[in-house]
């Protein structure tokens, strides 16, 4: 069944070993010499802040990406010239199954096909000119679905996967891992959108996997769940494996410390804030199940950070304020005037600028010049006497931004994709500054940005606030918030559960509130 069958391995060899893996993208080193041993039937929790390299490590493990250096050994035998050489089929054949957050389920195929198709694909080594063995398909699917306690009747087996609720889809993805006789199941933040009960069920399924000698590697932020599941925690930071320890023997505070790493002595950019009267007032804002009863206010010249886990509602709140995805009820007041932005352009008209988190897909036109990207919201102002865009005015506007934001670029006509991540981000900020916003909402302003660029962006944010602009930063980069904000709001399960001054706050405090430590949510 497996492409790599253990033929009398050395009795001491662990199931899987990652040795000295290095990987860089452009100039950014995502993994710096990471080694990890995975024993059969053990549970691991891969933890670390965003950008620490854990996603890269998983991609290499699952064969989606090859490393620059380093190797992966299975049963003591190398799996190729370099780690990741196996490729997707090879990794599946070696028994490494990855359940990404999108679950990797094909929405238009049936449950049976999703569960049992890979088995046949692996058996044929990826060759497609083979007969689909329906009897085996159904038999395998039935067996695997029974293992995760899902129905096994024909009706369920033939159901389109996109008609199932999320928790069921997740179990289908795990059933697929069982069907392809996985020896290692990697789960990328599997509990993010699950209810408590669904999480408990998932944990039981994982325990059954473990009993059969399957190793499970969780990628997670949730300390409570790690504690409940048990096993070993592998903590990464800045592309390095910082430590590996037993989950049960250490306190959550220790984990937070390992993960965030830096001492809080890092320079605070926020000095001497000059706050004015209240600019933004939000009362009882709610949207479906995403967030509810959100109250807060932002003063002129104030920088407010909003943080929380992925499912806390922070992203939805940001989109509601920016008018991209309007709230369903509640009041937003800007300088005393009630506004209800129904679209991004209405929010822009009120003076709200929104810099999205994913600048590549939501914000920038990568193949277009810097100039076009920056002047996009103010094309009206750039018209000449004939009502056409004056290229001279556009060029001057763009050049002002480039100078102002210290964007490193040969020329404003250079395409944005030729810039580094930090400079791209500054182009995006520059775009929103052209409308002179009263309120600037920055969503993950330094995601994928190197340390030097971070510094520049932080200084820009401070200068804007000093000039009287109000800034809301939505981020899960805690040091970033602590260094820049006056106040930090922590969201969990759609509510703001803490509203604290950033001055006397530590990362551990926030982390515990985010993850839902019981003392904090009383």
């Amino acid at each position: 069944m497996h492409a790599v069958t253990p033929t009398g391995p050395a009795p001491t060899a662990p199931f899987l070993e990652i040795r000295n893996v290095r990987e860089s993208f452009g100039g950014v080193r995502a993994l710096k010499d990471v080694s990890l041993t995975i024993e059969a039937g053990k549970i691991y929790h891969l933890m670390g802040a965003n950008g620490c390299g854990k996603s890269t490590l998983i991609k290499i493990l699952s064969g989606a990406q090859t490393a620059d250096e380093g190797e992966i050994l299975i049963d003591g035998k190398p799996t190729g010239r370099v780690a990741g050489d196996l490729g997707a089929i090879g990794a599946l054949g070696a028994g490494i199954e990855t359940v990404y957050q999108d679950l990797s389920l094909l929405p238009n195929l049936s449950v049976a096909e999703n569960v049992a198709f890979t088995e046949q694909l692996v058996a044929s080594a990826g060759h497609l000119a083979r007969r689909l063995d329906l009897a085996t398909l159904y038999a395998t699917a039935r067996r695997a679905l029974a293992d995760v306690h899902l129905p096994t009747d024909r009706g369920f087996l033939n159901r389109r996967t996109d008609t199932l609720p999320l928790a069921t889809r997740q179990l289908v993805a795990i059933a697929r891992a069982i069907a392809s006789e996985a020896r290692l199941v990697i789960m990328d933040e599997p509990t993010t959108s699950l209810t408590r009960q669904e999480v408990d069920n998932l944990i039981r399924v994982v325990a059954r996997l473990q009993e059969r000698g399957v190793s499970v590697l969780f990628v997670t932020h949730k300390l409570d769940e790690c504690k409940q599941i048990g096993g070993r925690a592998v903590i990464m930071r800045d592309g390095v494996k910082v430590t590996e320890l037993d989950v049960s023997e250490h306190s959550k505070a220790e984990f937070s410390h390992w993960m965030t790493g830096r001492e809080i002595s890092e320079t605070r950019y926020r000095t001497d804030p000059k706050l004015g009267d209240v600019l933004l007032e939000v009362q009882g804002l709610a949207k479906g199940s995403a967030f509810t009863g959100v109250d807060f206010s932002v003063r002129r010249g104030e920088i407010v950070g909003i943080t929380g886990l992925l499912d806390s509602g922070r992203n939805e709140l940001a989109l509601a304020l920016a008018g991209v995805s309007p709230a369903s009820s509640g009041v937003i007041r800007l300088v005393g005037k009630t506004i209800a932005p129904q679209s991004a352009s209405e929010a822009i008209a009120e003076g709200i600028g929104y810099v999205p988190e994913d600048r590549l897909t939501e914000g920038l036109f990568l193949e277009k010049p810097i100039q076009d990207n920056i002047t996009l919201p103010v094309l009206d102002r750039l018209k000449n006497a004939f009502g056409l865009i004056s290229s001279g005015k556009a060029r001057r506007t763009a050049e002002d931004s480039v100078r102002d934001l210290q964007i490193v670029a040969p020329d404003v006509s250079a395409p944005v994709q030729s810039l580094s991540g930090g400079n791209q981000q500054r182009v995006l900020i520059g775009r929103w500054l052209t409308i002179n916003p009263r309120l600037l909402i920055l969503h993950g302003p330094t995601v994928g940005v190197d340390v030097g660029s971070k510094d520049t962006i932080f200084r820009i944010i401070q200068r804007l606030a000093d000039g009287g602009m109000s800034v809301v930063i939505i981020s899960d980069d805690l040091p970033e918030l602590l260094q820049n904000c006056d106040r930090i709001l922590v969201m969990r399960q759609g509510r703001i559960i803490a509203d604290r001054s950033a001055v006397d706050l530590g990362e551990d405090d926030i982390y515990r509130a985010m993850a839902g430590r019981t003392e904090d949510n009383q």
Partner: protein
Amino acid sequence: MTDVISASGVNEKPRGLGRRLWDLLGARPELFTLTLVIATSIVVIIANPDFLQMSNLVDILRASVVRGLFAMGVLVVLAAGGIDVSFTAIAALVMYALTMLVIDVAPGMPIAVILVIAAAGGALLGALNGFIVHRLNAPSLIVTIGTQYVYRSFLLTFVGTALFMNIPAAMDRLGRASLYTHISASGVASSLPATVLVLAVAAIVTWFLLERTLMGRAIFAVGGNPLIAERLGINLFTVRVFVFAYAGLLAGIAGVVHVASNRLANPFDLAGMELEIIAAVVLGGARITGGSGTVVGTLLGVLLITLVSNVLIFVGIPSTLQLFIVGLFILIAGTIFTLRNRG
């Protein structure tokens, strides 16, 4: 405890008849196509009971063969999330060049060899589409518009523009071959053409390919989500080249069948049929965005389009109004399928 999930989320709740029909439509969109076919037939029969003559039914089948062959190819491309508008140009190039070749070089070539060459030539031209789509990572609509023009212009510029009135003997025999001849009471003879068999074989092969091979599941997987399909180890290049080559293969065969049925090779034929064929496949329940569609639904879609274009004339609906009706059907089907997918 785990039963909580299956009870709340997986098992169907009891529903009314309307809701069940609505769900059925989601699972089996071709039932809607069948309904339209039946409704159209009933309207035609009421308006003109003479419609139910063997000669009319045979005419519909005859007219469905080339459309059906094209549609099988389009179905496979659509299922993989692509779109192809170059197949008529491929068919025209293959049929005309091959007719010319056979007449000039090997007038006695048997029909089996002619069909094999047509299939191979069509597959080659189609594979080029797939290769370009994959290598450039370009929208297949744009690529196939481009190759359509290139193939057509190549045909008219370098191959020829003169009609072949005397087609090769083997093709002529294929066109005249009859499975069954019916002589009506009034003495009108109508014969079921053997070319229907070509469509039948193509339909069965396509069904087997889509439903019973790993390639078939891979095609739907790529149509559902190419990134996930690739992550699961499906080779996108293989799938893309295959689907376009398959559409080209069927187009090549359709070209020969077209020449055989008309006893004429006209290089200007077939152009402009692309949208009608795509419409037939979509009317048959395939989504234009990929990842779905069935052979039976596609055949029904072809039948519906043929019915409307060939038969409504018998009941006094002017040909100018036929397009209106086809358009209406597409709008109704499109609306219903879209609403069903949202619900």
